[in-house]
Amino acid sequence: MSTPTLEPTAEDVRERQIYRSFGLTDAEYEQIAKRLGRLPNYVETGIASVMWSEHCSYKSSRRILRRFPSAGSQVLQGPGENAGIVDIGDGQAAVFKIESHNHPTAIEPFQGAATGVGGIIRDVFTMGARPIALLNSLRFGPLDDAHNRYLFGHSVAGIGGYGNCIGIPTVGGEVVFDERYTQNPLVNAMCVGLISHAQIATGAASGVGNPVLVVGAKTGRDGIHGATFASTQDPHAKERSAVQVGDPFMEKLLMEACLELIATGKVVGIQDMGAAGMTSSSAEMASRAGSGIRLDMQKVPRRETGMTPYEIMLSESQERMLVVMQRGEEQVADAVFAKWGLDATVIGEVTDDGMLTITEGRQIAAQLPVALLVDEAPVLTRPSSRPAYLDALLPGADAVVQASAAGDFTDDLLALLAQPTIASKEWVYQQYDSMVRTETFVRPGSDAAVVGVPGTAKALAMTTDGNGRQVYLDPYAGGALAVAEAARNLVCSGATPLAVTDCLNYGNPEKPETYYLFERSVDGMSDACRAFGTPVISGNVSLYNETAGVDIYPTPVVGMVGVVADRSHITTSAFGTVGARVLLLGDCNTPLTDGLGGSEYLAMRAPEQKLAYALPAFDLTREQAVQATCLAVIQAGLVQGAHDVSDGGLMVALTESAIAGKCGLAIDFDEVLPRTDYSAAQQAALLFGESPSRIALCVLPSDIARVRDMAAAHECPLWDIGEVVASPAIHVRLGGEQVVALSVLQAETAWRGAIAQWMK
């Protein structure tokens, strides 16, 4: 094979400033040249530029990410590996991570979303874990726009297409619609795996002379410079070549083969090829072991002819892994991969010179210090400034929205239930196989999903949560709330929260205001993670979600996993026990005056004001008391159903529980809130406001005394607000009057049909 003659020379790269088109600044280029003591050639410039891109180097975020707590006795592997690992007892562990695929999705929603799922699955089985569940967190523009419907519909199909084919159940997630995401939809995918401690594999390339193999798919010209592309503005205008087509069938084979190979104990290190393909996987593996790697491009199996070392090193072809085997054990890999009909090809070896050396046959095509690529990548301190709008927000209690019919909130409730952000997500999750592996105890539709741990009485609960509008209105509290809501969802299902993976989706970090939002929300998340004892063990950052000057809301998404100690504790959001009482953990009084700041109700009834009012205050101590009580009463076997109050407020939560339980509810606030002169705004705030730290419980009358005692012991307020009734209707009395009256069927029709109606 001949060396390409058209490739620019090192001098060309400098003279024509080609490095700029790769995303390197003049100063960064000079720094690289200085460190090398010579001009980097074209291949080297390409390699360095992707490694120093935002996507690979986290240069804008690295300083901030250090603020997250990441240690804890349960943590077996914190951030820095392909996925984090937490102990779940009995020698077993949960492995998980979340990842964004926002930019590819914006231009090819099916494949963009599908390959996002493929990537996160690889991150988990790379650790040696068997993936057992998938979740996804989605943000799109409003559904009244055809292009938004196209993006949403195809993304969902792509997520399903990948997970269904590979046979990992998709058990949960969330979907939010807001015009801030029209140009920049967000697709975050999370994967959870199970592993026994003994099987944990890592991505370190150690042991001089150990062979380095590429396994799985052949390399093509897919997505060259995808990593750079993910870090720049306006995905539409940028390199369209960066979209890849996923092959879930190949990934299924690759997963089975890799798990089989890791189980042989002959693997030294293994790492998937994600962003920046072979470049980042080899550099990172060498970096973790403090070693070097030498790779011969001529040995890499290729799908296309005439590929240059530059193209091979930067290709983002999917479904490939880099494996370091023990020397002399190559044939073990051969045998395992042959059974699955896959290639396992030795392409190089581990060295001790600390260099990443790329050859083409005997000829050196690139040679760079691993440290330069990984450790010496720039860490930026970006200017940060508090956006002025934050200080101009009005008190939430001032947001005045009257009921649409005098004194009656029934129509408002129906309208709210049909808001796509609140409506049932059945249209989405019916397209996902949520049951394969037959371990799904709680399928999508409750608070958290629950998946059994085979061979034990335990189960894992998992959820993803985030609310960009709240973070926009109060970055610190919004960040903390995302963590709190995730924990609350787990607790409602009967689980003890264990740890967090986070996906930080923001706009342009070069804007000081955006950077401020980023920083403050990470602070809020960090403090909440400390409070709940849930360290951050893995995560992902997606910046530059900005088009034509419009940033998305700052949207940190929290993925959280907890353990259900005994399957008998598993609880769902269904209130289906006739005669049981409806109790509210948390305060019933402050919501009356907290107002509607940040709520879906305000966004629906007065869209122009939705960003004008401050959020209700958030008190972490109160939140902890509510969650601790909830978990304690569930574990004591005193709870028939539990549902946290979030989007849409108390009435939406109660209605969802009634629908799921196929029962009616008679809610009566007159006992506990005996005044008769509440204003319409106060009533709306109680019914639909989004004051945090509340959980509705369904409890048998005979258990109420014990629940009261346990709440008192945790200093958690508890309110008895109504009863589960057989007659399938929801009635609410407040201020001495009936303020809501509707049949469960009416509510269910509005709620269940809304998204399908749009997507017809």
Binding site: R221, D222, V243, V245, F249, R303
Partner: protein, 87 residues
């Protein structure tokens, strides 16, 4: 009066884009003994029956629907043939 046309549209993945279906079919054909098959690409064949004032506007409509709905130019390309149907 409008004339009747039939467009036969071929949508194929761009040459550089991975075609997992094609790869699987190639392998299957080899396993079945068709060793002389070198490559298979699987695309879509879409037949559209439409009315239009004349050939130019029919062509224009077909090209637009290809670009708007029937293909994603990021990964696919298309060609089409138009025939006028005699009624």
């Amino acid at each position: 009066m409008d004339a009747q046309y039939k467009a036969a549209i071929h949508v194929t993945l761009k040459a550089s884009v991975l075609d997992p279906q094609g790869a699987a079919v190639t392998k299957a054909l080899h396993a079945l003994g068709y060793q002389d098959v070198q490559d298979v690409r699987v695309g879509k064949f879409i037949e559209v029956a439409l009315a239009a004032a004349d050939e130019t506007s029919a062509r224009d409509a077909v090209a637009r629907m290809c670009e708007q709905l029937l293909t994603n130019p990021v990964i696919e390309s298309y060609t089409y043939e138009l025939t006028e149907l005699t009624v």
